[in-house]
Symmetry: C2
Subunit: 226 residues, 2 copies
């Protein structure tokens, strides 16, 4: 009798969403291949968080791929534009990185093809990030269609790729509740776009505000805020 | 009276195809933004060729984005697998790089969004590279659909992206004839996957063979073979 373990490539930033998603994929029984893209973020704290979360979740492999978005520009996260601190506003935020999820999914697809992993997990979410076009279900469906046309293994009929976004319609508090239920240690995760010189969350950027609200609504305490 | 110059992002490797495509886009009157992805190729000669061709064509900007495919693996071009020297064979070659064109187009899309460039040129070709799934028209169409769902500028109705593949159904000799007609200096281009220690084309890899056949059928002399 042969046991087949299903592999998944999981895009992991080290934030609340992708870390929780990794815990969900683990719970679903996948052999986990975590992929972190280092796109010249301002702070390496995110990358260290990703490594710690991957270790806690017992991934088969954690791959860090270095790349460079600075030349492309167009975002407060990859250029010298100020990270906004005035609270979450309407519309597409300046922290939007052009084509980021398209680029991330493309790398994940390349690795998934090499690994023979049919499923690719991405922490896209339409509740808290309604402003990002590349978090919408129609975008994810279009990428899935593309993936099945783009690769040798899919064209040869060996793999049908699926893009999985289990967080898509979960609120931040739903996500945090789920992660706590699955034993995720949120002290390992990181959310802040603009940490203090001492390496603490700023508490004022969009990402800090969304995280704080999520923990509050989940009736839980953020270990990073203690 | 306002003159509007249409911008294009052109994926440029420095090989025969993408260099000719850059000449075609120039001839069509675009303001040119050449994008070269350095994906840990074995040889930097390709990158130098891209820079020289971009300079000859008078591009507005040539952007080199460094990235890393080695961790992903799966190709003779990005790993320690031997480059085959026994001639062009049937099927998908081992030089196929998983999801390469998907990744390349994703970066081009990010830059095109920042620049406000509606058109993205890729040197995909179904004649000489029939084995690559991500050179087929259905793949390119799927990426175009994705691009128009993926980005802020397209979702807001400011830009409709088009993926242009003018070489799609041209033979190598057609491409070379076209480039010569447009004044492209092929001594600036590079094709070999596995150059000699002295920095000359090997003459035996698939890419050298296809190039030699193309020049022969075009009735022209390859300046690199002189």
């Amino acid at each position: 009798m042969t046991m087949t373990v299903k592999k998944a490539v999981v895009l992991l930033s080290g934030g609340v969403d992708s870390s929780t998603m990794l815990a969900i994929a683990k719970h679903e029984g996948y052999e986990l291949y975590a992929l972190t893209l280092d796109y010249s973020q301002r702070h390496s704290i995110e990358l260290e968080s990703a490594a710690r979360v991957a270790a806690q979740m017992g991934v088969a492999k954690h791959l860090l791929v270095r790349t460079d978005f600075r030349g492309i520009g167009g975002s407060a996260l990859t250029s010298e534009t100020e990270v906004p601190k005035e609270g979450v506003t309407e519309g597409i935020p300046v922290t939007y990185v052009p084509a980021r999820n398209t680029i991330f999914l493309s790398y994940a697809l390349g690795w998934a093809e090499v690994l023979g992993a049919p499923d690719i997990f991405i922490g896209a979410n339409v509740m808290d990030y309604s402003g990002y076009p590349d978090c919408r279900p129609e975008f994810l469906k279009a990428f899935e269609d593309l993936a099945n046309l783009a690769t040798k293994v899919s064209v040869e009929g060996k793999i049908k790729f699926g893009i999985k976004a289990p967080l898509l319609k979960m609120s931040k508090s739903d996500i945090i509740r789920k992660g706590l239920e699955l034993g995720l240690d949120y002290s390992l995760t990181w959310s802040c776009y603009d940490p203090t010189p001492g390496g603490r969350p700023c508490g004022a950027c969009d990402s800090c505000r969304i995280r704080a609200k999520g923990f509050e609504e989940a009736g839980a305490t953020d270990p990073l805020a203690e």
